[in-house]
């Protein structure tokens, strides 16, 4: 496989980005999903709609608006500047924020559904056994909602890896900082360097396939213990 150093750098950056985004998304999306799953507030529909909204805009366009918002004159930009962080576009953390906005619904929704499916009873049982809210979350909600968290992780991670419209717009394809694999493949394809594009795509596909296969197979094994005959 003739991967250049540049290709390798983008792979590492992509993994770093996707991992960061996925972890942060899980941390951020879980309380949102939890709240959405449990609340009876009228705000629920509103928040759900807001979370899903970024999806309907083309990523480049979303990226464009994020670029405006995070730029020196945008609301977010003003805020980050006031914090002394400078502006986010064209930095790794800018990519992180933008990817999070874009992949949020893929992480919130499956977790929310999984939490809803658990119902109240296991939580009630845990409470009567003396488990506080956090304890309940980690020992009851998390394991019982595992399929939802798995799905959220896979969709969130893969979507971040594959996304590039937004990344290109916010990141500006700066080698080592914001040029991720998707942008690199795109560049190869656009530059008609098909051999390189194929090689890099191939690596991505094979690598992702192996990871996904391992994930799914592991998940299947775990469940086989619990539900042999599905009583």
């Amino acid at each position: 496989m003739n991967l250049s150093d540049g290709d390798m750098a983008t792979i590492w950056l992509t993994l770093r980005l996707a991992t960061t985004v996925t972890i942060l998304l899980l941390i951020l999306a879980t309380p949102i999903a939890w709240w959405l799953a449990r609340t009876n507030s009228w705000l629920k529909g509103l928040v759900s709609a807001l979370v899903a909204l970024p999806l309907v805009l083309p990523p480049t366009v979303l990226g464009f608006y994020l670029l405006l918002a995070m730029g020196p004159n945008g609301a977010i930009g003003q805020f980050t500047q006031a914090l002394g962080l400078g502006t986010l576009p064209f930095t790794f953390w800018g990519l992180v924020v933008a990817s999070m906005v874009y992949s949020m619904p893929f992480v919130v929704q499956p977790i929310q559904n999984a939490i809803e499916a658990i119902g109240n009873r296991p939580l009630e049982a845990a409470a009567t056994l003396g488990a506080g809210p956090l304890d309940r979350f980690f020992t009851v909600v998390l394991p019982l909602a595992k399929p939802g968290f798995m799905t959220a992780t896979i969709l969130g991670f893969a979507h971040t890896v594959g996304e590039f419209g937004i990344v290109l717009m916010i990141g500006g394809s700066i080698a080592g900082e914001t040029r991720v694999v998707s942008v690199q493949i795109y560049d190869h394809v656009e530059g008609l360097q098909y051999a390189q594009a194929h090689a890099l795509s191939g690596v991505m596909i094979v690598f992702s396939f192996v990871v996904l296969l391992m994930l799914y197979t592991f998940q299947r094994k775990r469940k086989a213990v619990g539900m042999t005959y599905g009583r």
Binding site: T60, F64, L67, L68, M70, G71, P72, T87, P89, F90, L168, M169, G172, S173, I174, A175, R179, D187, V189, E190, G191, L192, Q193
Partner: protein, 238 residues
């Protein structure tokens, strides 16, 4: 620390060659970003850390100049694009005008006129040939000339107006058949470069701009299918 250069996608391969040559003789490193000119415009307005911007047209440098984000004096036309009609099938382009007129092809791929100057030029050619109406129903538009090329190369479109540079790149042997569109059929596809105001003091950027004026650079540009302007004047017609 390298010089950040934003390059219109169509010039990507050429630019890589140029950079390789430049870095042979210079201590400066060049970091390239490829993309569409429109995107670069938006990014530069938001403070993108580029030092040089090689646009695919003159419109974006104009707009940036109007916004006061570039050093006006630095601007010049670095290349003039050339159009070709290409088919992945051998001999298909032999009698191109009649082929176009008779519509004996499935699709005609062009670059999106709104997005790519090659698209604008293509329309001018079709208008010149009075083929606008005849081809209207068969046009498919690529986001840029790279996509236009892919429409043709994958066999999905029999014909396409692409950049000559795409056929002549060092590492490719042109397949099929092509017709080089006479330059007289359309306005020149002038591609301008500008030095961004934020990089006014960048020695590396200046060195690279200087390199662009060298014979070596101009030879490469020509070799890749562009016209290199005779007199490299700032923003003026040749």
């Amino acid at each position: 620390k390298p010089v950040h250069v934003a390059v219109a996608a169509n010039f990507g391969n050429t630019m890589q060659r140029l950079v390789t040559e430049f870095e042979k003789t210079s201590d400066y490193q060049i970091a390239l970003s490829f993309g569409s000119s429109g995107k670069f415009y938006a990014q530069i307005k938001q403070g993108a850390p580029y030092e040089l911007f090689f646009s695919a047209d003159q419109a974006k440098p104009d707009a940036l100049q109007h916004d006061g984000l570039v050093i006006a004096a630095s601007r010049f036309t670095y290349a003039i694009g050339r159009l070709a009609v290409w088919s992945a099938r051998p001999d298909f382009v032999n009698k191109i005008e009649s082929t176009l007129k008779q519509g004996t092809f499935n699709k005609l791929a062009i670059a999106h006129p709104k997005l790519a100057p090659y698209g604008v030029a293509t329309l001018e050619v079709l208008r010149y040939l009075e083929l606008i109406d005849a081809t209207q129903s068969k046009l498919v538009r690529g986001e840029n000339i790279a996509q236009t090329y892919q429409f043709v190369s994958s066999g999905n479109a029999d014909l396409g107006f692409i950049a000559l540079s795409q056929l002549l790149g060092k590492n490719k042997v042109p397949q099929g058949s092509y017709w080089l569109v006479p330059d007289a059929m359309h306005h020149a596809i002038k591609q301008d470069v500008v030095l961004l105001r934020s990089a006014a003091k960048s020695q590396g950027a200046k060195a690279f701009l200087d390199f662009m004026h060298t014979h070596k650079a101009r030879n490469i540009i020509t070799e890749f299918g562009y016209l290199a302007p005779n007199r490299l004047t700032m923003g003026q017609d040749i």
